[in-house]
Symmetry: C2
Subunit: 242 residues, 2 copies
């Protein structure tokens, strides 16, 4: 309550916490949902895989910190990272989630198109960063397995009623590629004609690139290309099969 708010910097007036961000970064590679993991070089959990993340700087919001960490981990230019899909997931604050000290972590979910493997961090203490299929993720450091599970749930749900699926695709994509995003994240197969109609019936979900087309599997009719549209929510929603 307001009565407890500190009136200055008196260190007795509040408990000091460290605040971090953790990132669940998803992409689709070779028809499988992957997440970016880094391998810890120091205890606790040395050698364990963990979600990328880090401490908030002194005058930085959690979202700014998340974008900064994302740029560092993926090696993407900051300009590109600035308009990537980034959504606050939730905050994890169990007192014992970090064995060393009290750390409260704000988790974010990022959806990115297929990117090159992150450059090995030159001599850093995190010895590697790697895209890992979510199906093969083993035990993670801290409570990161729970964060990852929450992020997966939320991402699956968001596909139903928002346009975020396009964040997994390159700037120009085919409806078949967009459908594969849904099928991969949901682990379900969808009817192609109906998927197509629902997407095109949602105003602002995708906009056609006139005249452009691309062969996908080497064979078959070249598919028309689309770009992400201006809409962010999906009316009506594209519901998962039961």
């Amino acid at each position: 309550m307001a009565a407890e708010r500190p009136e200055g910097y008196d260190p007795r007036a509040f408990e000091p916490f460290a605040v971090t961000v953790d990132l669940a970064v998803f992409t689709i590679r070779a028809g499988q949902l992957h997440t970016l993991l880094i391998r810890r070089g120091e205890p606790p959990y040395a050698g364990r895989w963990a979600l990328p993340g880090g401490f908030l700087h002194a005058r930085e919001s959690a979202e700014d910190a998340a974008r900064r960490e994302l740029a560092e981990e993926t090696g993407l230019p900051d300009a590109l990272v600035a308009d990537l899909q980034l959504e606050q997931l939730r905050t994890y604050s169990a007192p014992d989630r970090d064995p060393r000290m009290r750390v409260v972590s704000v988790a974010y979910t990022a959806l990115v198109p297929d990117l090159p493997e992150p450059a090995a961090s030159g001599g850093g203490d995190a010895d590697q960063a790697r895209w890992t299929p979510v199906a093969t993720v083993g035990p993670l450091a801290f409570d990161h397995a729970a964060i990852l599970a929450d992020a997966l749930d939320r991402t699956g749900a968001k596909l139903e009623y928002t346009c975020v699926a396009t964040a997994f695709c390159p700037p120009e994509f085919t409806l078949g590629e967009l459908q594969q995003v849904y099928e991969t994240v949901w682990g379900a197969t969808l009817d192609r004609p109906n998927f197509r109609r629902k997407v095109l019936a949602s105003p602002g979900f995708v906009t056609p690139v006139p005249g452009a087309s691309r062969l996908t599997g080497g064979r078959g009719k070249p598919a028309a290309l689309y770009r992400r549209g201006p809409a962010t929510t999906l009316h009506p929603p594209l519901l998962r099969p039961r």
Copy 2:
């Protein structure tokens, strides 16, 4: 990234933050959506209304802190508060959101049935706590107006696809009362026969109390009574009128 995680309690390894919870507590009184506000007794924002909230204790999760503050502000017994609807909204971390120091706040939304006016805090420095119609809320302290707006958006959306509406009702309620919850939060009128059918068609949303009935407006046929059912999500969703 993991490399930046502190290896011990070295105060130079991380920026110290204060962590608080803020609560957007909603109830329905006399057909209007109300929120619980407290009046600040000290600067900054002395005399301004603010959301209830407070600092995390040393070994307490954000949700535990939110329930503790909720019990303190509403005067409800802890046992009752333990199973009230409480949902993490999001975390607010702008560097300047508190003029005195760096404070990161985890916001929660709570939905409660109609309660008595909170007892005046005996000689505390927060001089009053009061239920206020959301339509008449003026400027608030800190970024609490933004938190309240986010909480309203989320609550309206959650009514569509979850069963939380029953949290606004007493243990036994009529379908008319449940419908008023939707109409009040959404600011829309619904068709009674269709509302009734949708609610009863959602398995586990409500369970009938056999034989029980109650007069609502003094006149008219007494309405059957229902209790909250075991379900938490609504299939199919109960969508807002466009």
